[in-house]
Amino acid sequence: MLYYFIRRVLQGIVVLAGVTLFIFVLSRVVPGGAARGALGARATPGQIASFNKINGYDLPILDQLWFFVKGLVLHFNLGYSYKNNQPVAALIAGRLPKTLVLVGISTVFALVVAVPLGIFQTVRRYKPEDYVFTGVSFLLYAMPSFLIGLLLLLYFAVDLKWFPIAAPSATTVGGILADPRALVLPVLTLAAITIASFSRYMRSSMMDVLTQDYIRTARAKGVSGRTVLFRHALRNALIPIVTLLGLSIPGIVGGAVITETVFNYPGMGLLTYNAALNLDVPLLLGTTFVAAIATIVGNFVADVLYAVVDPRIRYGKR
């Protein structure tokens, strides 16, 4: 277990270094250079030269990389957004907690709905209820997520007026949580596809487990169907769901961009969208970097959890 843990940490560090390097490369290959992006198309060669000198863009590339990494590690310096006239790190720090709230609530909600739904479908397998939910999953899969958000918005907010049209606009996390009604539709939108995939997965995982020998043994011993389902089958069927959760994190974080844009929710996704509209490359690279770190951390937690719940890995020779 300790060996597995250490190996996994080292691997995470390698991946983190690679992500940093890729972001650095992207920041230097911007057509026209960073100076054009910051100063605009009408900057004179003299202005560009002095910008490059001040910001160290005239140094050898390895020195630039060294300063980039040093600034990142020591000061969490993600660069400067010239369009917003603020450091990128400060802009992201103000928005990230709100995105984490949205992503966190959606993921928990998705699990709470999808796991029982998958079990229900397994119990009622090949019956009409099962086919209905499978059909709905297929439909949700095939819909672009902004379309799901848009339809929810049109129906529940515009037509029925059950929920406000705008997402919570409070500047603090507390303020956002204080207005749960406004959170309902964004959470539903972000959770919809996750629920579709998790429940389908839960269903097939349960079905796999139910064909195992030890389930037949338990049945043969006379254990009741309910106990077999929840004590014997469920615990093993949940193991792959942990992996699935880790693999889904990038998708959910990416989905936040769409959801936040549809509902005008003031998180990191909306910040990314606005950065794209303004062609604000430093800010885009910053949010991309932070989103990648969130994914790496999430994957790491999922892998460790996986080792904890699966004895085959815990006691394995790895």
Partner: protein
């Protein structure tokens, strides 16, 4: 739209996608001693369609959509490129009627014709990006798994690094830095999509490279490139075909997402996602024809591809069990 739509994969696929596949040594791989001939695979696929109604529905729908987009404009002539003429000779946001069966959009373009025109772009980018991702991913995974050791470690860490980026963020950043065009969108979507096939094929290669027939080729002095291209890749073809089908669906959804964010193909071209995006501003006013037709086409295309992919996966797994 999840970066990796996990429901599309079986337990084994998911295990293969984890970076650590040492637990998979006992996993059943294809047992074909020789490469199944192309006729074999084609016949196999045809049998799938004969047995699986959903797959037939999917294939027919997809064919109709492709015909609609490619052959439609031959019979239904509309101006889709000249914005000035569109504004001069027709009224914007005209409801469906005799002259325009699906009305006109906010720029005066005929919506039915625009669906065909935009669909060409969506399908072209979807298929090209998926093809690119599949070729790169398959070669990457096969080489990585075949050589093993340091090569494998380095190549797979590179995959890990790119998989750590939420794909939508990467798509947005690359599109903004390098400016959207049809060619660039194909490259960018292909660039974010090759990672999953790389992992899947690498996992298959690990089980294939220790097979006797691969050993035999090497003993007889077969070149590495020959082993990879003639013996390993063809035997992983089931995984590859299934994944490629889903890749097209994903690429179309990614393109739609980019279109929604205003990063789709630049005017005067359009794609279904951009059409939806433009229509959204009007939809609360009851201009349903600006979004629902494009939305229905995206959903139908993706559902069709998913039906086909699911059926293929079932069939190819069955093949493994039967032998």
């Amino acid at each position: 739209m999840a970066a990796i739509d996990p429901g599309e994969y079986s337990t084994e696929d998911l295990a293969l996608m984890r970076e650590d596949t040492s637990g998979l040594a006992d996993l059943e791989g294809p047992e074909a001693g020789e490469v199944a001939g192309h006729g074999g695979l084609v016949r196999q696929i045809l049998r799938v369609f004969a047995e699986n109604k959903l797959a037939v529905v999917g294939a027919v729908m997809l064919l109709l959509i492709i015909l609609f987009c490619v052959l439609g404009p031959v019979f239904y002539h509309t101006n889709q490129t000249n914005a000035q003429n569109a504004l001069l000779y027709s009224t914007p946001t005209l409801p469906p009627g005799a002259a325009h069966p699906l009305g006109t959009d906010e720029s005066g373009f005929d919506v039915l014709g625009r669906l065909m025109y935009g669909g060409q772009t969506s399908l072209e980018i979807g298929y090209a990006a998926a093809a690119l991702a599949t070729v790169v991913g398959v070669l990457w995974g096969a080489i990585s798994g075949f050589f093993g050791g340091v090569v494998d470690a380095v190549m797979m860490r590179i995959v890990d690094i790119f998989l750590s980026f939420p794909l939508l963020f990467l798509l947005i950043t690359l599109t903004v830095i390098f400016h959207a065009s049809v060619g660039l969108l194909i490259l960018v979507i292909g660039f974010v999509a090759w990672l999953v096939p790389a992992r899947l094929v690498r996992g298959e290669t690990l089980t294939l490279r220790v097979r006797e027939y691969v050993q035999a080729v090497r003993v007889m002095g077969g070149k590495n490139s020959r082993v990879v291209l003639r013996h390993i890749v063809p035997n992983a073809v089931g995984t590859i075909v299934v994944n490629a089908t889903f890749q097209v669906a994903d690429a179309i959804l990614y393109l739609a997402a980019l279109g929604f964010l205003g990063l789709g193909v630049p005017a005067p071209r359009t794609d279904w996602g951009s059409m939806l995006s433009n229509g959204i501003a009007y939809v609360a006013g009851g201009y349903w024809w600006l979004i629902y037709p494009a939305a229905v086409l995206i959903v139908l295309t993706v559902i069709s591809l998913n039906f086909i992919g699911d059926a293929l996966r079932d069939a190819l797994e069955v093949r493994l069990q039967r032998r």
